[in-house]
Symmetry: C2
Subunit: 172 residues, 2 copies
């Protein structure tokens, strides 16, 4: 299924010069949403995955659906200050500044095999910080997977050493 | 299935006196997460639902999974400034201040039958604003449903005229 035409390009959002990739047009298409989740499910079905980790906030949509589809736990990684119990956190540089992500210290067990899901790989900063948190809890990252990858931003370089997958690539 | 024991109570988060209901302990339990989504699915299966609307951010986890389970479009309602294309927005009072939610103007069609999903009904402000946006696009709200309802905060009063459902009720 050709997914790229279902992503709406919004120029100059959130600031001039940025070509924002809008996933809501794909989510509105039930067949496409189903296809994405089922493709992920088939990709990981024989991999003995034990939890799906999703990144705040759009990663929750895809990660939550995939966890449901695979009958797995869903583990949210959130922006700083959103998770209520004891957390560990890590800083990262964004395209537009600096931010921080957190995970509950009891979210994952050592050796647990997980897949990390987000909608978009841009510079890779958020996912690199997320992966570092997951590793520091001792979990094993089987793959990091994105709906969209912006290849010109070289996010894969920041995720060196991790298996990375994406459905759709755009130059920028 | 008794879900209440799977919700972790975190006292004094995000500020003193608040008993925060942590849903991550339920999401970590794959069987409970499956049960919640499947119960929603069975509840709406014969209702000719045409889209699931989920609230930013925890509503994305449940709403995304439910949309997938029902083979329906998923429509995100977000905090102000997050949706890239043309939106309408509405203000509301939070327990901790004032905020605003937005929906894309092309997200729903007049007459479309939808269910609104969020994790928690507290004062009802966010969902009242969300429902107003959905109605202003002409969609028909079949039900508003929450995983958790804090009954002492009387959120149902703010949602007067809408069918409201919740899985778990806590006094506070």
């Amino acid at each position: 299924m050709d997914l790229a035409p279902l992503i709406r390009n919004v120029p100059d959002f959130p600031k001039p010069g940025i070509q924002f990739k809008d996933i809501t047009t794909l989510l509105k298409n039930a067949r496409a949403f189903q296809y994405v989740i089922d493709t992920w499910k088939c990709r990981y079905l024989e991999q003995n995955i034990q939890a799906i980790v999703g990144a705040d906030a759009r990663g929750f949509i895809f990660g939550g659906a995939l966890a449901y589809a695979m009958h797995l736990p869903f583990i949210p990684v959130r922006k700083r200050g959103k998770l209520p119990a004891k957390t560990i956190n890590g800083n990262f540089e964004l395209e537009y500044g600096v931010d921080s992500v957190e995970i509950h210290v009891d979210a994952l067990a050592p050796g647990q095999r997980v897949v990390l899901i987000d909608d978009l790989l841009a510079t890779g900063g958020t996912m690199a910080a997320t992966a570092a948190l997951v590793k520091s809890l001792g979990a094993e990252i089987v793959e990091v997977s994105f709906l969209i990858e912006l290849t010109a931003l070289k996010g894969r370089e920041k995720l060196a050493g991790l298996p990375v997958h994406s459905f759709i690539t755009f130059e920028e």
